[in-house]
């Protein structure tokens, strides 16, 4: 079980809650379970969500494991120049 924090706009489509306890071993499973629980989140996942694990931002490595007790923070997937 990991505690996941959603940024402001995303929490609006996840029942208005910023913090969620999810049983997920990696980013892929985390996204799947969030989408099962909150279908409104699916378009956001399609558009791109980055996952910060203990401060390190992962944008595409969906196989990245979520260590127990790690700080998991969802962020928008941003553009660079």
């Amino acid at each position: 079980m990991v505690e996941v924090t959603l940024w402001g706009s995303l929490s609006a489509v996840a029942g208005g809650k910023a913090k969620h306890d999810i049983e997920a071993k990696d980013i892929r499973e985390l996204f799947r379970k969030l989408a099962e629980q909150y279908p409104g989140i699916e378009p956001w996942i399609d558009r791109g969500i980055a996952v910060a694990i203990d401060g390190t931002i992962y944008r595409d490595t969906w196989s990245k494991e979520l260590p127990p007790g790690a700080e998991i923070f969802l962020l928008p997937r941003l553009a660079g120049g």
């Binding site: 931002i57 944008r59 962020l75 928008p76 660079g80």
Partner: protein, 754 residues
């Protein structure tokens, strides 16, 4: 990904040295081939007809006269680019931006295009195209566009991110919010609170090379595109999707690039050139004029930002709040969102809140510009931080050091930081001789901090070892800032050979797996990771070949300093085999030797910079000269320090132009009044002082060599550092960028008038 990206703390032989750039001779002798330097047999000249109106319904387009003109081979409108986007709203916007479908949404929006045997005929043909417009009310100012009574740009847009779905459409496409703690409580604890509003005008990346491409679509469905881009694989994906081509049949070759800075991460003319070629049955070359680059490519946002920061008497910030409104052009974007995330990222804050609003305006579609959105947010925040330090009677650097984020700090955008470099950059600035140099009359000094995320992404690299022992490295990230040199250094480091033995090239889209574009300061970070991985895979093969040559088990072979070594006393008589020895024998040991890598380079470390700037302001004319400038920035590990210094200097130079002169100026008619370098003034060498640099190296734990991105962070602090310097020089807080002479004089007059 079977690759361990963790930092290993190794010593370096090649990395960190400064060999001459591999593309230097070609560039100074004019041999380098840029976008407009490519030609194909039988090619036609493409030209685009653009809307003269900021906002207009396209009632009809009559191309019949143009089609009849001798020498015209194809005329296209949006009908020749049917909507194949299948509900993908972002792709539809790219399609509509390439060629207006129902409405022209800004001055310069493409409405039709021709391909003709020469430029003269193409220009004549454009004049023969008759467009019947119904001109609509327009809005170009970000604050005006956000008002309820503003002309609506898209009546299908309802503000996202509000607690309740709005009943009416709006030009405000999205609200986003970041932060933690309770800002009301924090402000109540403050002894001093400063609150100010700021504006920044829209600027262009100002790359010297205009957009250019040659497109050739064949009847069998194959196609070639030679183009100046930051990401040829992304261009392939987008163009293939927009034109209904199979991606594998569209080969995109990137040219040398005369600057991109984010502006060449987006297709503009390329789908049009392909559509013209498809219709004409001949190659089409399309080169934007400078006027078109300004009017119809993607500048950065204009912004309007409110900042409020409170602090205790001891200098502890108790609360920080910002509301940021960013223009997106006529299509939704996420520019204010990035500003909201980066605004307070330098600081350790218990109570922080940022809210971003994305605003549609009748201007060109906003595109990324080097650390997009961060410089404007930093300008507003760092101005208030400076003013608050003064109010507290604290030194500006000491105040920032006291409140700087550090490892373990919860960032203002959410996650907790790992090892970061904001503190060290501030300490370096504090002890820098620049801070103690005397100033003369009418001169002022300013300093400011900046933050950028840096990104990684999908990356694919091939490393091929020739039979003569030289190495060719094929990468898929376009070299915008010296990555061919830095990646050659990395390959040399990993293989244990000399830099001169490695030649890096940017491969076309048919020769290598997919690569994300060179953006987010990812070129060297990502492709060096893939290069290390590819080199390690090649070393496995080299060891296997050496084992064959020696007829010993491969487990007994190690790789050290460019040589295979047979380990153990029983092999005492075996001399090491060099990479060259093994390569020479490769034909008889299993054929070519190569290393390949495909990976997602994630975990790019965030980076910070602190800049110092001295200016002199002429109080009679309001003209400002930057007389001294120093950049201190964390690079993680500077692979090629000269290029890193160049990135630092380049960011500062662009920031100086943005801060003092550059500005899109629109008339009341919604038309851009200064689409050229005579009236839109970017700094030239004589405008700039020598920009001093200091590289700090706080290793990124998620890269084997500790590399962080370096290309973007350097443009984040300049607007603020220069604004603080000008404000200190004239004794008036400057709140509107650019601080052009008329704006400075107006601020001085306003101050005098009280």
């Amino acid at each position: 990904m079977n690759f361990d990206p963790r930092y290993s703390g190794r010593n370096f032989s090649s990395v960190g040295t400064r060999p001459i750039r591999p593309d230097g001779i070609d560039k100074v002798t004019g041999r380098a081939r840029y976008g407009a330097d490519f030609n194909m047999a039988g090619q036609l000249v493409g030209r685009v007809l653009r809307s003269p109106h900021a906002h207009a319904l396209i009632k009809s387009i009559d191309t019949s006269k143009a089609e009849k003109l001798a020498g015209v081979k194809a005329v296209i409108t949006a009908k020749d680019l049917p909507d194949l986007t299948d509900g993908d709203a972002a792709m539809y916007d790219i399609l509509d931006n390439s060629m207006a479908r129902k409405k022209a949404l800004y001055d310069g929006h493409a409405v039709a295009a021709v391909a003709a045997i020469d430029a003269r005929t193409a220009r004549q043909a454009l004049k023969l195209i008759e467009v019947d417009y119904e001109v609509l009310p327009h809005v170009t100012d970000v604050d005006e566009a956000a008002q309820h009574h503003a002309p609506l740009i898209n009546d299908q847009v309802f503000t996202e991110g509000l607690e309740e779905k709005p009943a009416k459409p709006s030009n405000v496409t999205k609200r986003t919010q970041f932060g933690h703690g309770d800002v009301h409580k924090g402000f109540a604890q403050a002894d001093f609170v400063i609150e100010r509003s700021f504006k920044t005008e829209q600027t262009h990346q100002g790359y010297i090379e205009p957009h250019a491409c040659v497109a050739s679509v064949n009847p069998d469905g194959t196609a070639d595109l030679w183009v100046c881009t930051q990401g040829h694989f992304v261009y392939r994906q987008h163009c293939a999707q927009l034109l209904g081509l199979e991606a594998s049949k569209l080969r995109v070759t990137s040219s040398e690039i005369g600057g991109g800075f984010g502006g060449k991460t987006h297709v503009w003319a390329e789908p049009v050139a392909l559509a013209l070629s498809r219709k004409a049955g001949r190659p089409v070359k399309l080169v934007m004029t400078r006027d078109e680059v300004f009017r119809a490519s993607g500048p950065t946002s204009a912004t309007s930002i409110d900042v409020k920061i409170g602090a205790k008497k001891d200098g502890t910030i108790t609360a920080a709040e910002a509301t940021l409104r960013y223009s997106c052009g006529p299509y939704p974007g996420s520019w204010a969102e990035i500003g909201a995330m980066t605004a307070f990222a330098c600081y350790k804050l218990e109570n922080v809140k940022t809210v971003g609003y994305e605003v549609l305006v009748n201007r060109p579609k906003t595109a990324a510009y080097r650390a997009p959105s961060a410089p404007m947010a930093a300008f507003a925040v760092e101005s208030v931080v400076d003013e608050l330090a003064k109010e507290l009677g604290m030194d500006a650097v000491e105040f920032r050091i006291k409140n700087a984020a550090q490892e373990g700090t919860r960032s203002s955008y959410g996650p907790v930081y790992g090892p970061i470099g904001i503190g060290p950059t501030l300490e370096a600035v504090k002890s820098h001789p620049h801070m103690k140099a005397p100033l003369k009359a009418n001169q002022g000094r300013g300093m400011a901090c900046g933050f950028w995320f840096n990104f990684g992404g999908q990356t694919c690299t091939d490393l091929n070892i020739g039979m003569d022992g030289t190495v060719s490295l094929a990468v898929g990230t376009v070299d915008v800032g010296g990555s061919r040199a830095s990646l050659s250094l990395v390959a040399a480091e990993e293989l244990g050979i000399d830099y001169s033995q490695v030649k890096a090239v940017v491969a076309d889209t048919s020769s290598l797996g997919y690569n994300d574009m060179t953006d987010g300061s990812r070129g060297t970070f990502s492709s060096s990771m893939a290069t290390i991985s590819a080199a390690r895979n090649a070393i496995k093969i080299l060891k296997d070949r050496a084992a064959q040559m020696w007829d010993i088990p491969v487990e007994d072979v190690t790789w050290e300093k460019g040589h295979a070594i047979a380990k153990g006393e029983k092999y005492g008589n075996l001399s090491p085999l060099s990479l060259k020895d093994i390569a020479a024998a490769s034909g008889k040991t299993g054929g070519p030797i190569a290393g390949h890598s495909e990976l997602v380079a994630d975990g790019a470390g965030v980076s910070f910079a602190t800049h110092i700037c001295d200016v002199e302001v002429d109080p009679e004319t309001g003209s400002t000269r930057v007389i001294r400038y120093t950049v201190v920035q964390d690079a993680g590990k500077a692979v090629h320090p000269t290029y890193v210094e160049g990135q630092y200097q380049g960011g500062a130079a662009q920031g100086i132009g943005w801060a003092l002169n550059e500005e899109y100026i629109y008339g009341k008619d919604g038309r851009l009044q200064n689409p050229g370098f005579l009236d839109y003034r970017i700094p030239v060498c004589s405008d700039l002082p020598m920009i001093d640099t200091q590289i700090l190296e706080i290793p990124n734990p998620n890269h084997p060599y500790g590399v962080r991105g370096v290309g973007e962070t350097s443009i984040v602090p300049p607007l603020a550092a220069i604004a603080n310097a000008v404000s200190n020089a004239v004794g008036v807080r400057m709140t509107h960028i650019p601080m052009s002479p008329p704006r400075i004089l107006a601020a001085l007059d306003a101050e005098r008038e009280g």
